[in-house]
């Protein structure tokens, strides 16, 4: 046996340990996997939306209006911002052109 025999024993022990660990893990986690694959709760009654508590009644209109308001606001602010930057740069160009003309005359 010697050194190689000891090594083989070690490998066997490690395999055994891994096997035990896998077994324990499968016992611990299999209920979680099975539970996660279960279909959702079955519906056995219909509840009118008006009977839901206020926090569960979620009207779509405010969400829709908010979405469109955000779109209009974002586009409006961007167009205004580009227009403002453009006019600032154009004013500065005019000012510098005048300054250069004045320097040339002097």
């Amino acid at each position: 046996m010697g050194r190689w025999g000891g090594c083989a024993m070690m490998i066997q022990k490690t395999r055994f340990l891994i096997g035990i660990l896998l077994l324990v893990f499968s016992f611990v986690f299999s209920p979680v996997v099975v539970w996660s694959q279960q279909p959702g709760e079955q519906v056995d009654e219909f509840v009118p939306i008006s009977e839901l508590p206020p926090e569960d009644q979620l009207p779509a209109a405010p969400l829709l209006v908010s979405a469109y308001a955000c779109v209009v606001l974002a586009l409006g602010i961007y167009v205004w911002s580009v227009g403002r930057r453009l006019s600032t740069v154009q004013q500065e160009i005019k000012r510098l052109e005048l300054e250069i003309k004045r320097d040339v005359h002097n």
Partner: protein
Amino acid sequence: MSRLFAPASGLCAIMLAATPFVIASAPYESTMGLVQKIFYYHVPSAWLMMLAALVSGTSSGFYLFNRKLSWDRIAVASAELMVLFGAIVLITGPLWGRKAWGVWWQWDARLTSSLTTWMIFCAYLIVRRFGGIGSEKLAAGLALFGLANVPFIYVSVNYWRTIHPTTNVVPTLPLSMGGPFWFCALTLLLLYILLMQLRIRLEDQRKQLDNLYLAVDR
């Protein structure tokens, strides 16, 4: 700027004003109802977000290879529009999801990849604004990373399990929903083209201003 800019702007304004009426004419979707109408702005904005990222990334690539400033101007203009349309997508999406899915946000592949790409282009603009001299090359590298994410955003809903609708929704739209959808998509595409022209003009004028400053200093 081209002579078509003014008439195209007028047409775009009319189309934008008409979109709420066109959307109102579309029928309600069977399971989501009224809130599904966010779709008519959300999806075209998402397409334009990806288009803007593609344009910015490709132009940045060209700029890195041949150092022509015209490519850099296109890249920065499109990056800004990517952030604008991305913000619209990331705001309108959760408003829709809250009603349709019951949650504001879900860390799935489509939403997460859209958010990270948007953040990459925010970083692009921040680097351009505060990075100092030479920052345009660093920013161009960032835009290439953003570009690499675009195909991933598009296919993510088909390859990963997600609650986000797949890419199959738009091609299978009935005419009553498809008509308003394509009208909104065309309107926003026209808006993107016009804003690109305006933004590139701003970059051109800034370049002119820089040249004037140099002339004054001499």
